[in-house]
């Protein structure tokens, strides 16, 4: 073969090369376009409500489709409170699991237990919802909430969080379901950052007589602080945006009650419940406004989490 015979072949290869390269490049760009498209859609959709209600939307509790007066304080409150309750339960348990799996558990058992915990993350959120509504809520209503009302309801200060009738569904129930859902994410990130703590540092601590718990608490935890906070924030981001599981057990009340046992609502469950039935430009647009708030909130939290995790050398990519 002479070089001339090869020319068509080389040209063809080069053409495909350009096309393939362009395809991969535009696919990568699509990720950015997707983000831009989502933000633009939310802002355009929310525009009428933004114009009518302005920033005061965030501070108004009223949500009245009949008089077309809308405010996002109720859902915002519910979103934040359920997520905080979730963290309150999920963080200590995840920490315990991570410590157990990295320090205590016999090596042969680590894999199976870690896998089992991570399977919790793959159960679809709708299944958590139906389980929360039919199994967890009745238990809370029958056994836990009456006790809380009797024993904690009279306490000064925090007592008002535990007053009113035991509905079963409400902020506390939603927070508990969320806690179960975010637990595998937080514990797997914590496990990863614990594992990255330098062995020499731990050995040095053992060398001066530290117990295993001393090493965890005074060496491993301070060393992996950024990663721990990143993992917790990643869980928070999940909890803020979780939709179906919460929609089942939150009770859908726009009114804010002091009690954690009362029905409430969250941004995502308002959208899930009301969007397909919303009539009127302002109603639909107010739901978009809520969506925009939710997106900004979760974006900030998750972006912060990712930055922190990147600082502790890229843990949590899978979560």
């Amino acid at each position: 073969m002479t070089p001339d015979d090869l020319r068509p072949h080389v040209c063809r290869e080069a053409r495909i090369e350009r096309a393939f390269r362009a395809a991969t490049f535009s696919s990568a760009l699509l990720v950015l376009i997707l983000l831009a498209g989502v933000v633009a859609t939310l802002i355009i959709g929310a525009w009428p409500a933004l114009k009518t209600f302005g920033a005061g939307f965030v501070l108004r509790e009223k949500w009245n489709p009949v008089t077309e007066v809308f405010g996002g304080l109720g859902p915002l409150y519910g979103t934040v409170v359920t997520s905080l309750i979730a963290l309150l339960f999920a963080v200590p348990v995840s920490f315990g699991i991570a410590v157990f799996l990295t320090e205590v558990c016999p090596r042969w058992l680590r894999g199976p237990i870690a896998t089992a915990i991570e399977l919790l993350a793959s159960i679809p959120s709708i299944v958590y919802g139906i389980w929360g509504l039919f199994v967890l809520a009745p238990i809370l209503q029958r056994d836990v909430q009456p006790w809380l009302i009797d024993h904690w309801g009279a306490l000064p200060g925090i007592g008002r969080w535990f007053q009113g009738p035991p509905y079963g569904i409400g902020l506390l129930t939603a927070g508990l379901v969320l806690a179960i859902m975010i637990l595998p994410f937080i514990s797997s990130v914590m496990r990863e950052v614990f594992r990255m703590a330098p062995v020499s540092l731990k050995e040095a601590a053992y060398g001066i007589g530290a117990t295993r718990w001393n090493v965890v608490w005074h060496v491993v935890v301070p060393w992996s602080r950024a990663g721990l906070v990143g993992g917790i924030m990643l869980g928070l981001g999940r909890a803020l945006g979780e939709t179906m599981a919460v929609t089942f057990v939150i009770g859908n009340a726009h009114r804010i009650s002091a009690s954690l046992l009362a029905p409430a609502t969250t941004i995502s469950s308002v959208i899930a419940n009301e969007f397909s039935e919303a009539v009127g430009e302002l109603y639909v647009s107010s739901l978009f406004y809520l969506g925009l708030l939710l997106f900004m909130l979760t974006f900030a939290v998750i972006a912060g989490a990712r930055l922190l995790l990147r600082m502790s050398s890229g843990a949590g990519r899978g979560a």
């Binding site: 760009l29 679809p124 709708i126 969506g291 979760t298």
Partner: protein, 288 residues
Amino acid sequence: MRDPGRYLRRRRIADALAFMAAGLATFVGLAVLAAILWTLLARGIGGMSPGVFRQMTPAPGSDGGLLNAIVGSLAMTALGTLIGAPVGLLAGSYLAEYGRGSRLSTVVRFINDVLLSAPSIIIGLFIYTLLVLRMGHFSAIAGAVALSLVAMPVMVGTAEDMLGLVPRSLREGSAALGAHPWRTITRVVYPAARNGLLTGLLLAVARISGETAPLLFTALNNQFWSTDLRQPIANLPVVIFQFAMSPYQDWQRLAWVGAVLITLFVLLLSILARAIAALFGPHANPGE
């Protein structure tokens, strides 16, 4: 100095207590998993009958099954994967190959990581505006596109990680034989990372097959049999949502059956993905 023996004992007790608490936390986590699976099986298997796979979703009070919802879910999951996975693979290829180390790649990777954990209901709003409003009605295709956008970031992330694990020497060998990068990527790098890519694909399918929120205002639901992609289509997650929240016993029973079906399917996929990852790579795999 104080009695050193007492001090030591106290530290040892603190040590034991802390690790007992850690063990307890692990037990709680496993117990919750067991409780959920047990409830699912107890309530769902009882309602399982051949009719579930043969009949359509019923009106309240009459007998029926989940056939249309199962088929609708499979169709939308398949179509969503078919759209989302190739785009994700190409984007992942850019990040791991052409754009490795570039500023654009850093930004794309970061945004992709954020999208991976972003609320999926927002995707529903996005596709509603983009497709449902344009077409004038809910449709299976809108549902599938919404699912594809949920699957895409999963695929981008795993594809980049897995391609990144393929040794440089393989690429150099291919380049030395005169292959263009596209030929190296498709004929050398992809096959070397095959198992890792398959794991990512399975994880993406697992992720979207239970997704409900993005379907609520895209595919909606359909009480009847439909294979028309331009029409609303029945799907398991939305049927479970609607039936579980209803006051009808028959509907609630079918909701539990649907929940079992979805959970078993998703758990099977996740376990399969893990098994492939553990048995064949990513570390054992790439050709060396």
